[in-house]
Amino acid sequence: MKASAGGYARAESVGHALDLLAGSDGQGRVLAGGQSLIAAMNMRLSVGDLLVDISKISELSGVIVSGGTLRIGALTRHAQVGASQVVRTHAPLLTDAVSHIAHAAIRNRGTMGGALAHADPAAEFPACALALGATMHSEGPEGARAIPAEDFFEEVFTTALKEDEILTSMTLPVAEEGEVQILEEVARRSGDYALVGLCLVKRASGHRVSLFSVGPKPILATVAMAALDAGDLEAAVDAVSSEIDPPSDTQASAAYRRHLAGVLLRRAVARLKGDTA
């Protein structure tokens, strides 16, 4: 089908974009890479939006490390995240995630911030943000806010961002010496949405496990994390299957998703230990 947009404006700066959103009478919609939004518009799932195109705001793009913190601008494209040596060094989970996101042509335009703000429950980056303990940074009429990933993702396609706010970057602690970050997912075909996905991060302070495509938002599997910290893989596998409440749909039943979550945790732990499971 053909999209039906209510209007379009190209934002020259973050301030300009906020003015446009404020002047949109609640009809404003932030357009970044457009790889989800324009598809939704073409399918008439979203009609009459006043599009605030932020894709030309160069200050929102790029990767910087300073003082133990990695900052990735919201408009950094998936392909740029995937190719960044800085990201590979300091947050290899994100490098891994990129290879699972859709297809090359979509990764060339889709943005990390767009994926985070869109908050598709099957998306990789939101679960990575949870596992890594990332912080989302936004700008709005009331000023800047820093929102921990655990408070950011609220529901299907719903985040803590207000309608008049824009996500500007994500920050995360750089991987410490000896830290291991692993992403496992099952999809029927390359580039498909995950049936289930799992991120495992092991730091000196303990394990972090997040899952995606298992409910309305990505979750931290805190009981499984504690079990892994105690060295009890079987308890962790049991926990990860019961901590999620996955849907049944045409792709997979809830029971199969629960089973997969345990399988993925076993695979991730095997990789952690250097086994080739």
Binding site: M1, K2, Y8, A9, S24, I38, A39, A105, R109
Partner: protein, 166 residues
Amino acid sequence: MTEMFRDKIDVSLTVNGEPVEARVPAGQHMIDFLRLELGLTGAHVSCEHGVCGACTIRVDGDAVRGCLMLAAQADGAEVWTVEGLTDTNAISDLQDAFVARNALQCGFCTPGMLVAAEELLSKGDVPSRAEIREHLSGNYCRCTGYEAIIDAVESVAQGRAGKGKT
């Protein structure tokens, strides 16, 4: 306040090396603009939600989905379609290999396949068959079963590297 938003947007870009100035509807995607306004019907409109790859074009050096980019976003962009890539002989070896290897039957997916494959080939390495398959995983072909397409791309990669017989 909503007068800040326009339903027609002026854009200035280059398409296949030629300057284009146009006023485009806010919701028009790039492929409809190329096909309906410029008559460039090489890239195809098919699923219109980014799944099939038939609309793949090159924008600012990257292979992108023409259906997932608004024409309004193309201001300042350098756009290439299969027509321009054909006229400049930029992909003639790839096109010849598609014919030689029977890598197309109906041809509907071919313009998108060519643009996507050329992006991989332009990196200069000789990709493995698995890498070719992965790179083309976002381009559907309902005729060939893909093996012939991968044969064609592989033979060009080897040919360009001076290792093959193509």
